[in-house]
């Protein structure tokens, strides 16, 4: 019944944010931030279990550890980027949110460079006379 807990926390937080916003809008934003953090922390424990399963499957399938680690890192960067971008967009700063998303994409590409080079090298080795 985790979903009921999360949904009720979200509803309570939105009510609190609405009430506080009339008096003190900056603290209402903090309420929103803390709600995001609490829900994220709650979800993170479940994600850890899923990632453990993925790692074990990868080991059993003899996938190279570097690749799985890179993929996990990319997923982590994507989650953090999304979190930050949504928070900044909620605060009304969509320009900064767009920049955060851009930075996330570029950092993901930088992290994925080893995989990209491996793919390109494999393709080149397939080419005749390459």
């Amino acid at each position: 019944m985790d979903i009921i807990i999360i949904v009720s926390i979200g509803i309570v937080a939105s009510l609190l944010a609405l009430i506080v916003k009339e008096q003190n809008s900056s603290i209402a934003f903090f309420v929103v931030v803390v709600t995001g953090i609490i829900i994220f922390l709650f979800i993170l424990q479940k994600i850890a279990g899923i990632l453990l399963l993925i790692e074990q499957l990868g080991e059993r399938a003899n996938v190279e550890g570097l690749y799985i680690k890179t993929i996990l890192k990319i997923i982590g960067i994507a989650y953090i980027t999304e979190f930050g971008a949504h928070l900044t967009r909620d605060a009304g700063l969509s320009a900064i949110a767009a920049k955060i998303e851009l930075a996330g994409k570029i950092i993901i590409i930088t992290v994925a460079i080893p995989i990209l080079t491996a793919v390109i090298e494999t393709i080149i080795s397939f080419m005749p006379g390459g």
Binding site: L16, F30, V34
Partner: protein, 68 residues
């Protein structure tokens, strides 16, 4: 989980109390002190939120294998 949710009520409570103190001080004609209380309430909440945020980032780092 419940203790986590208590932080929400804590922050909302701080916000309301600070707003009330602000209004009272403003009625008394002490404009600067009212501004100062609002700032202090903001900093107090900021400290709580920063603690939670660093906890979240530590968890993300440990879950998603960020060593470097």
């Amino acid at each position: 989980m419940l203790s986590e949710a208590m932080i929400l009520f804590q922050i909302a409570g701080i916000g309301m109390i600070v707003a009330i103190i602000h209004t009272v001080l403003k009625q008394m004609g002490k404009e600067e002190i009212a501004q100062f209380t609002t700032l202090m309430g903001f900093i107090l909440v900021l400290l709580i939120v920063l603690g939670k945020l660093s906890e979240l980032f530590q968890q993300i780092k440990s879950v998603f294998l960020f060593q470097g």
